[in-house]
Amino acid sequence: MTQHVIDDELREHLPRLRRFAYGLTRDREGADDLVQSTLERALSRWGTRRDAAALKPWLFSILYRNFLNDRRRSRRYAFVLERFHATGFEDHPSAEREVAAQTALEALERLPAEQRSLLLWVSVEGLSYQEVAQILDIPLGTVMSRLSRARQALRRSLEGEIRTPTLRVLK
């Protein structure tokens, strides 16, 4: 496969990757950095793909793992900062953000990374359940039960937006 053909194939998936990365990070610059590192890794490991046809799940899988790795590094960094009594690094949504969350994306942001990814892959990117199983390397039945839990979690998160201000008023 020539470089041009590979580049064209990757270009075709760019919009999906960018959208998924933004849904995951809610940060446009961070999302594009994530996509860039994904493409770099994809290019360097192009020859190691087991299933040449399944490019889409392979790319999503790289992006998802890059995201988790970045987050792990950030947490380690946050831990170090905390040890030195530094401030300004917060990994959890603040109370103000809980109140301000009014959209599905904001509700999504409160979910764990895997639930976020599951909902984005299935509901937004239209990946098959089989493709999701491949990305997460879990059986199909597990995908379905986790998808159900993710949907329940998103629902609770959206409903939580209505409850939170009321609780704050009653204080």
């Binding site: 590979i6 959208r19 199909l140 159900s148 629902r155 959206l158």
Partner: protein
């Protein structure tokens, strides 16, 4: 008939991925279970809302940095840079190691004063024992001839007869830099002065200098491309004699 749909079927129904027969079966079940139906409809709305919020998201701003061709080119550039950096590190380390080794050699050489072999020769052969010389001189001219026969254009041993010292013999000595010769002079009181001549070391010919080793003093320098040294007891009278002998070399 109201068979409970599987989790797979419920989720696939939410996503519109069931064939018509199964879809109708799930719809029939949901019609019998309003709470479950409300939950499923809410999930469908949530999914729709997510899609709506993210629609058009990736294409708002074109980011040329994400083009695969550019990323590929950048990777190749980085690979070249890494190779260049690795080569530089290797070169620096090699240079450092070489320079360090050289410096060590220079340092140890600098720490070691020159003409140690002249001192050693004095200690070994200044006792005027019979049989320790390669040539025993009867006349000063014979000594010069012997030197000319063994060294090319070497400085001639000085004639110290006017100072009360006469040459008793000469001995060839091997050094790392080539053959050296030591001429022993003694006076009537049995005092000794040695004249030592050798090829220059790798550091080049010696400038004029002096070293003291215990009760011995060595005055050294170079002439005609050879290094030479006079070794004697550290005594002002002997030193004056040595200085006169050195002047006679030029």
């Amino acid at each position: 008939m109201s068979m409970t749909p599987s989790e797979y079927e419920i989720q696939a129904y939410v996503d519109g991925r069931l064939d018509e027969t199964r879809q109708q079966a799930v719809e029939f079940y949901l019609a019998q279970h309003p709470e479950r139906a409300a939950e499923v409809r809410a999930w469908q709305r949530d999914a729709q809302q997510l899609r709506a919020e993210l629609s058009g998201e990736p294409n708002l701003v074109i980011n040329s940095a994400l083009d695969p061709a550019r990323i590929r080119a950048r990777r190749q550039g980085q690979a070249r840079t890494r190779w260049a950096a690795a080569a530089m590190v290797l070169l620096s380390v090699s240079t450092g190691v070489f320079a360090g080794w050289q410096a060590r050699g220079w340092r140890s050489a600098a720490l070691q004063p020159p003409m140690a072999d002249a001192i050693q020769a004095y200690r070994m052969f200044s006792h005027n024992k019979a049989g320790q010389f390669d040539f025993v001189s009867q006349h000063y001219g014979d000594l010069q001839a012997w030197m000319d026969a063994h060294f090319v254009a070497a400085p001639n041993p000085p004639d110290l007869a006017s100072m009360g010292f006469h040459a008793v013999g000469v001995r060839l000595i091997a050094t790392a830099d080539g053959p050296a010769a030591m001429v022993l002079y003694v006076n009537a009181r049995g005092e000794a002065i040695t004249f030592y001549v050798r090829p220059p070391s790798f550091r080049g010919t010696l400038p004029l200098g002096r070293r003291r080793d215990g009760d011995l003093v060595t005055e050294y320098g170079s002439v005609h491309g050879y290094d030479y040294a006079f070794v004697s007891r550290s005594d002002p009278r002997m030193l004056r004699l040595v200085h006169r002998a050195m002047r006679s070399l030029t």
